[in-house]
Symmetry: C2
């Protein structure tokens, strides 16, 4: 896929999920208005929409119409948005900037931010349960996958491991374990949920997609760490240098900056290799893998 075609694809996915999210989110004129305003503020405030984009790209790779994965894409982004609200809270990472704007608890208040996060998580499962584009047997499997990826054995567990690791000297295995859970699980679910809506897929194809997702999930995190070292606050939209300030273990800190770049590149190559079972329809997935280590925010 040309750089132009890929940029068009990314933009189309972002616009598409933005529209579906807007449809599913309660409006500010429904009480409680402030809660709904906080939910919309946190979700509709931009962002890369990596998880929905991955879901759409994986659906395309599986020859599934994008309508069939709209709700899963929405649910993934709702879970991601709720986790960002809670991670930014003073008791957690204590961040005041996100996507270039005040974090939810800064723009509203802490109580509203906690509740907005809670309600966004609930909404994710609500929309999946109501997803008329997939039969109930597929819907329960999607809910199971999303819940497993985001619960205490997935994303939330990763955040708990991450918090517990502050000030602790981590080795590479421990660091990888945090990221496999904290960001990797939901990225993996984004691809695997799309595969769940495709009944005709072979087991080999499912395993290949899962492996692709595992590799790019880790590459994504390495790049995130690199951006924290090398990026500028204005471009990445959140304060850079936070990892050093919090004495957090990172890939560049453990490996060095250049080997961290190489590790990310190797993972992307592994991800690309596992897509050999797929035809041109998987080109968007291929471009995403490359984009992940090229991005500057």
């Amino acid at each position: 896929m040309s750089e132009y075609a890929f940029a068009t694809f990314l933009h189309a996915c972002q616009a598409r999920v933005e529209h579906v999210l807007d449809t599913h989110l309660p409006t500010n004129d429904q009480p409680p208005g402030q809660l709904h305003a906080a939910m919309r503020y946190a979700v509709l405030g931009g962002g890369k929409r990596l998880r929905p984009t991955l879901a759409y790209a994986a659906a395309h790779a599986c020859s599934i119409p994008l309508e069939q994965i709209d709700t899963a894409a929405t649910a993934l982004e709702l879970i991601h948005a709720y986790s960002l609200i809670h991670d930014d809270l003073p008791a957690m990472d204590d961040d005041d900037l996100r996507r270039g704007r005040p974090t939810c608890h800064k723009a509203f208040n802490e109580a509203t931010a906690i509740l907005a996060g809670d309600a966004l998580q609930t909404l994710a499962f609500y929309v999946l349960a109501q997803d008329k584009m997939n039969p109930p047997a597929v819907r329960v499997r999607l809910i199971e996958q999303l819940a497993h990826a985001s619960g205490s054995l997935g994303m939330v567990g990763g955040q708990a491991l991450d918090l517990a690791s502050e000030g602790v000297e981590l080795d590479l295995v421990m660091l990888e374990n945090i990221h496999i859970h904290k960001t990797g699980a939901l990225i993996r679910a984004s691809v695997n949920m799309a595969a769940t809506t495709a009944p005709h897929l072979s087991i080999e194809q499912r395993t290949a997609l899962d492996h692709y997702a595992k590799c790019i999930g880790l590459a994504f995190q390495i790049q995130d760490d690199l951006l924290d070292v090398e990026g500028e606050t204005a471009i990445i939209g959140k304060r850079s240098g936070q990892d050093i300030a919090h004495q957090k273990a990172t890939y560049p800190a453990l490996l060095g900056v250049k080997p961290a770049h190489e590790a990310a590149a190797n993972l992307v190559n592994e991800a690309l290799a596992s897509l050999r079972l797929f035809d041109d329809n998987a080109d968007a997935l291929r471009n995403i893998a490359e984009y992940i280590i090229k991005r500057d925010h």
Copy 2:
């Protein structure tokens, strides 16, 4: 049902859901251990188990075997437990005592309490999605009901309205609106989810159960307010007099103590009247209605 038989029934429901909860909760030796310990601490630390008990009693009224509602009962209690953890946080109600023990953020820390609440919510939907006792079409309906009852248009919305009302002079309609959402929605879901697993129920029976649940939900809240005025910290297991301390509107404050008792009794009578479509199998529901205004904690 005799007082003795009802006490036996309550105890059996509590023991039953405690066992199922224990089975579904991750153990402390699975990492992250502290997160799992906090989840278990918050869920398995006693409590009345009103919502599971209501679900079991409603299932019995519908001649549904209790096994069929075990997972829904578990999910209801997981949602309830997560909401208590988050409500107790410093940014919310700032309580340090719950069920006679330190609240989760006091026993652990704030970050762990936020994450434990998040993971318990996720787990509720996970267990429902995996519930092998009900077909997928019933499972998605159960998930939909639970999510609707606990999201921004239900429980979380009620908590947001409640927080927004501190220091504001409320009338009875506004107070009732808070409680219909904050506690009423999940109590109503407890009964309605049991009805969802009973395919043979008539629409009249479903409506009657829903009305029963609406009435006892409100009666429960009035009694809660009365206990805050009249109860003793040692018995109710949380600090009494907190509503006055937080300048919160309550039924006894708006109506007076005696009329508040009468209002609760009237609601219980209305609940009982709506069960006339049901036979002796609904006796546990009848006893619960009466228990709600007799309880001292």
